[in-house]
Each structure stands twice: as structure tokens, then as C-alpha cells.
Symmetry: none
Subunit: 147 residues, 2 copies
DNA sequence: CTGTCTGTATGATAACACCCAAACAGGGAA
DNA sequence: TTCCCTGTTTGGGTGTTATCATACAGACAG
């Protein structure tokens, strides 16, 4: 079975790329998709998949290690840290609401009707469509770039 | 009656200050608190209230003007734009999808169930959508800083 | 050992974000 | 007119973000 991670980088958002990557790794850990011991995409793999410079990925991974989310092992790869606890449930809720609020504001600015917004959100949720997994063994993930 | 705008700037977020200000103005406009013709805080007033440099506010206002949200009039002030910027259906669709996809990816990373996402989006749409008001007189707003 | 994967580390370059100070110019009221 | 509000513009400074190219070093299979 192939596991995929969806990474979405929005250059127009003004948010630094390395920080967007950090957030998304944290979200995967918080959501349970990435579990203790799982191997993250290598620096070069992630960099080429997202067409960013490896240095940028290094920065993201280094900061994530400083935050205790991941561990990097020379010559082996980057792995989800044991003592992760990257994000609290409350922070997850805040993150979701912030993103939803942003969508709501933008849609209102664009004068899109609420039903239309709901429809599009449903479509995009289906498009992302995660693969359900109850596997307990540490796995390696590939990247699905989103730009 | 005194009208107040609450501005909150988070320096640790990594999001550029001028962009945080832009988002909040957009939110007020989308939500109907700021209406066509309303006068925004002056550049210097907003800058001193938030203890940021006036140049930063200039950048935010300039970008907002480029987005068609506000208009700046030399010697008079900054006002909420009358005419919504002309945008094609296609541009509207692209912008909406981009924002929706961002939310979908993030929700998936957090392993939030699609129904839950829809619920939150509905709530945020309701929170943004203004109750139609009969008051048409333009007003001036002051700033209450949040730091 | 060799090849190839992995992370680690530089220095140079460019663009952006933010601050600071100062000056210029329009609008409107005393 | 003068005064004080307003936006406009310029030049200089610092730190961050991100790119590119290059090199070094650990892990491991063949």
C-alpha cells in the first residue's frame, strides 16, 4: 500500500514556505496520519516534489526538530518524534476555524452564495480524499504536491 | 455613537503585518461592519494605535486599494470602495477553488471529518454574513488595538 | 570498497518585510 | 492666510526568506 501526503504550498498567501510546510507536518501528526516512528519524505524528495529549494526544506525540518515534532538521523532520514504532542485538540479547532473563516470572508468578498461555497468545499474534500488505514507499522510516505 | 474597529496583530505568526491588516479590513467589509463610503482610520492613527510604522500601513492600504476594497483620497482619508472590483466569473471560480482546496487539505491533515468541516464552514459563513441594515450614512471608525 | 541513498553545512545573491526619518502635497476650517 | 488634518514619496537601514551551487559526512546494500 502506498501512503501519500498532500502538501499544499500557496505562494500568494504571504506565509513563508518553510512555515507552511511546518504547519502541514504538524497537522498530519496532530491528526494521526503521521505516527511515531514514521519516516517523512527526504529533504531532496520533498524539495523536488514541491519545486522548492532543499535549503527551504532543511529550514522547515530543523525548526520542526527544535519543536520536538520530528527527529533527523544523519544518513537515514527524518522521522516523527516519539514525544510528539505537536498540537492540542484546541489548537486543531482553532486552525480549522481560522481556515474556514478565511474561506467565508473571501467567498463573501467574491459575492459567492453560501450554497455554492458548500458545494465547492464538498468537491474539494472529495478530491483530496485520504486513503483509510488502520496499519500500525511505521511506513514511509510519498508526496502529492499541491500548487 | 462611537464606532470601533478591533485590530489584532500577531508578530509571532510569521504572517506579514501588512497582510494581517489587509485580512482584517477585508473581514470587516465582508461582514458589513465597514460599508461603502465609510472612512477608515488614517494611516498615522492606525500606525500609532498598533505601534507599527506608517509605511507598513501605507503598504496595506495600497494593496487593499489594488484589490478594489478601499479608495484613498489625498488629504481626505481612506474609504471603503463603492464599486466592487470587476471580476470575471472565471477569476471568481479560481479564487474560490483555491481557498476551498486549502481548507480541504488542512482539514484532511487534521483528520476532521467532512461533515464536521461543512458544519464549521456553514457557521463561519453565517458569522460573516451581515444582517442587512437600513443605515446608509457613512461613518468614521477609531481603532482599538489588540496585541 | 563503491555507489547511492540520507542529512549537514557554506557563501553568494536577490527579493521582501519592516523600521526610521524626512519631506512633499491636497483638503478644509479658523 | 495659517494650521492641522489627510495621503504621498524618498532614501537608508536591518533582518528574514528563499534561491543556487557546492561540498562534506553518516548509513547501508551490493
Amino acid at each position: 500500500m502506498i501512503h501519500r501526503l498532500h502538501f499544499q504550498i500557496d505562494e500568494r498567501s504571504g506565509v513563508p514556505v518553510y512555515r507552511q510546510m511546518m504547519d502541514q507536518v504538524k497537522y498530519y501528526v496532530a491528526g494521526g496520519t503521521l505516527r511515531q516512528g514514521d519516516q517523512l519524505p527526504s529533504i531532496r524528495e520533498l524539495a523536488s516534489a514541491l519545486t522548492v529549494n532543499p535549503t527551504t526544506v532543511v529550514k522547515a525540518y530543523t525548526e520542526l526538530e527544535r519543536d520536538g515534532v520530528i527527529e533527523m538521523r544523519h544518513g537515514k532520514g527524518a522521522f516523527v518524534s516519539g514525544r510528539a504532542k505537536a498540537i492540542t485538540r484546541e489548537e486543531q479547532e482553532v486552525a480549522l476555524r481560522r481556515s474556514a473563516k478565511q474561506l467565508a470572508v473571501e467567498a463573501t468578498q467574491l459575492q459567492v452564495t453560501p450554497p455554492r461555497v458548500i458545494t465547492v468545499v464538498r468537491e474539494e474534500l472529495n478530491a483530496v480524499n485520504p486513503s483509510p488505514s488502520a496499519d500500525e507499522t511505521p511506513v514511509k510516505f510519498t508526496v502529492v504536491p499541491g500548487r
